[in-house]
């Protein structure tokens, strides 16, 4: 039986499978938060979500609009401070983070600061780091959830807001970032990528149904490496879609985009 789903639903379902029960996650609003909620409602009821505004392990009743709003601390075990959350990450207690950005490069570095012009007079100004640089520096596995687009996947970020593998190889740890941390996987509407262990360059590991390696490369501004064996991404299941649509995002704030 063929199930109908849109690219956003696919990305969220596939990403949510990474979040095993009993793990910890630092996350923002939007699609990453939907993936966390789906995981929490389906397979990982004891996934501890942490929001940078201070909430620890809430049971989200609906999608928060802000990581500091009432929903983000609903039925939490504790409300604390931004420092306390970031320091939990800095101490090595947080397994995952999901991030996004206006640009991502072949080493998984992210730009959410500006594009075009100069820093003093940017053409397009974005929010800046927020907590992204902190999460990307400290959390063990950094994951990215974003649309596959050649303007977004660029050879080199104009501005590195959040560290990925920096210039590849061992450069991330040489810069002083904690050993063992770094970009882990990238989920797009077309594929799932990881990073080749030596060069730390992004590579395709799995193709989403309906797309080809050629499609992914065509929508990427740099040359993607290819894993020795590229698999087909498991499409969303009936139950994933049901929970996503009925419980996680009934107003279609994220999955309707």
């Amino acid at each position: 039986m063929t199930t109908n789903y849109n690219p956003m639903e696919l990305m969220i379902c596939v990403a949510s499978r990474e979040l095993e029960d009993g793990s910890t996650l630092a996350v923002g609003t939007g699609a990453p938060c939907a993936a966390a909620m789906l995981a929490q409602k389906l397979n990982s009821p004891n996934l501890a979500i942490m929001f940078e505004a201070g909430s620890v392990s809430p049971q989200l009743p609906e999608m928060p609009i802000s990581v500091g709003d009432s929903r983000a601390s609903y039925k939490a075990i504790m409300v604390s401070t931004m420092g306390a959350i970031m320091e939990t990450c800095s101490r090595g207690y947080v397994d995952y983070t999901f991030l996004g950005g206006a640009q991502i490069d072949k080493y998984g570095n992210l730009n959410s600061t500006y594009i075009g012009g100069t820093h003093a007079k940017p053409k397009v100004r974005f929010p800046g780091s927020g907590g992204a640089n902190d999460f990307g520096s400290f959390c063990w596995k950094m994951m990215v959830l974003t649309v596959q687009d050649a303007r977004r996947f660029v050879e080199k970020c104009e501005f590195i807001t959040t560290p990925g593998w920096l210039q590849g190889g061992n450069s991330r740890y040489e810069a002083g970032l904690p050993e063992g941390t770094g970009p882990y996987k990238v989920f797009t509407n077309m594929a799932v990528m990881d990073f080749e262990p030596e060069s730390k360059r992004m590579r395709i590991i799995s193709i989403n149904p309906g797309y080809s390696v050629k499609d992914v490369q065509h929508n990427c501004g740099f040359e993607l490496l290819r894993a020795p064996k590229i698999t087909e991404t498991q499409p969303p299941t009936e139950i994933e879609l049901k929970i996503l649509r009925e419980e996680v995002d009934p107003h279609r704030y994220v999955i309707g985009r």
């Binding site: 505004a53 999608m63 500091g68 800095s90 780091s129 907590g131």
Partner: protein, 344 residues
């Protein structure tokens, strides 16, 4: 004469500075300058309640560096932001420590000309503010980049009374290059550390749930950095949902987040965070926040919008009355408590 061993020991005791960010520091990180200020600040437990108009007139000046409590529209001093626009403050410094709707308002008034940017311009899941973006793209605003944790750590350093605290973020990034941080080699481990210089704002404005007239405050829900902010700021203005008695404060001191001696003014402003979300009180007015974003698309339309909603309003309650009044507030209370989801 120094022996070779003494020279080597001295050399070993030098802290190795690896790299400096090129961002400007907009505030003085010297704890002794701050101590000299705090030494002279009154410790008297006197009635500090006043109107918001008076508090902004007295404690917020052109050119001051301002930091606000709350997290991006949640428990944020929105009424105070409107009053700052009405009083026409200019050339201020600003801590962009996840400032969303606040940043949108202060950009509309072109109140600031320098920003410590951790999170600015955006409104999280709601999108980006066209007005804030236009203002930040004029080149008129000096920007030093930081992260949310950097600013938390900077306020922590100030609250500790030390010139900096070390952290392990920023390393390897352009966020560091455009920050005012310095990377050093740790004298214990040899690891690289980013120093976060103490941030002592001239003035902090914090919206809280409850305060007594002396400034003893209770905050419910997430704190962000407001405990440290009140301790770091030279002057602190409190706006509160309601005034409570000092007897009530003393009945349960474990609830007190900010003690009176840090506070300069207490203003009772019920719904002072509207149209933002005040946890356990009222949810955000998403419809009205969308109107803001929509109006900003056209500068002429936005000018009228600001006139109606800020400049022509005597105070925050007139603004609320223009946007649905008590009926709207009751609806937002219902949404906050998820009562609309209760079974029939």
């Amino acid at each position: 004469m120094k022996t070779q061993t003494m020279i080597e020991e001295e050399e070993n005791m030098t802290m190795n500075i690896i790299r400096k960010g090129k961002g400007e520091l907009f505030t003085d990180p010297d704890p002794d300058h701050a101590r000299a200020f705090f030494q002279k600040k009154s410790r008297k437990m006197i009635n500090k309640s006043m109107t918001l108009t008076k508090a902004i007139e007295t404690f917020v000046h052109d050119g001051d560096y301002l930091a606000m409590g709350g997290f991006g529209g949640n428990r944020s001093p929105i009424a105070a932001c409107h009053e700052i626009l009405r009083q026409g403050r200019k050339n201020m410094g600003l801590a962009g420590h996840t400032t969303t709707h606040e940043f949108e308002i202060l950009s509309a008034g072109e109140v600031f000309d320098r920003v410590d940017a951790a999170y600015i311009v955006g409104l999280e899941a709601r999108g980006l503010s066209p007005c804030a973006r236009r203002y930040m793209q004029t080149g008129k605003v000096k920007v030093t980049e930081w992260t949310n944790y950097c600013i938390s750590a900077r306020l922590r350093a100030a609250a500790m009374g030390v010139p900096f605290v070390p952290t392990r973020n920023l390393l390897g990034t352009d966020t560091f290059e455009y920050s005012g941080s310095i990377i050093i080699e740790c004298p214990y481990t040899g690891k690289k550390l980013a120093l976060q210089p103490a941030l002592y704002p001239d003035v902090a404005i914090i919206h809280v749930h409850e305060s007594d007239v002396y400034g003893n405050c209770r905050i419910r829900g997430i704190l962000k950095s407001d405990n440290d902010l009140a301790r770091a700021a030279k002057r602190t203005i409190i706006t509160c949902e309601r005034l409570i008695s000092n007897e009530e404060i003393r009945r349960d001191p474990s609830e007190t987040t900010i003690p009176y001696f840090l506070v300069d003014a207490v203003c009772e402003v019920p719904y002072g965070n509207y149209p933002g979300n005040m946890v356990y009180e009222y949810f955000s007015d998403e419809e009205h926040l969308r109107e803001w974003l929509k109006a900003e698309e056209d500068p002429e339309v936005f000018k009228e919008f600001l006139k109606r909603n800020i400049y022509d309003c005597k105070n925050h309650h007139e603004y609320i009355n223009k946007n649905g009044g008590m009926e709207k507030l009751l609806k937002l209370r219902t949404i906050e408590h998820l009562l609309h989801k209760e079974a029939d």
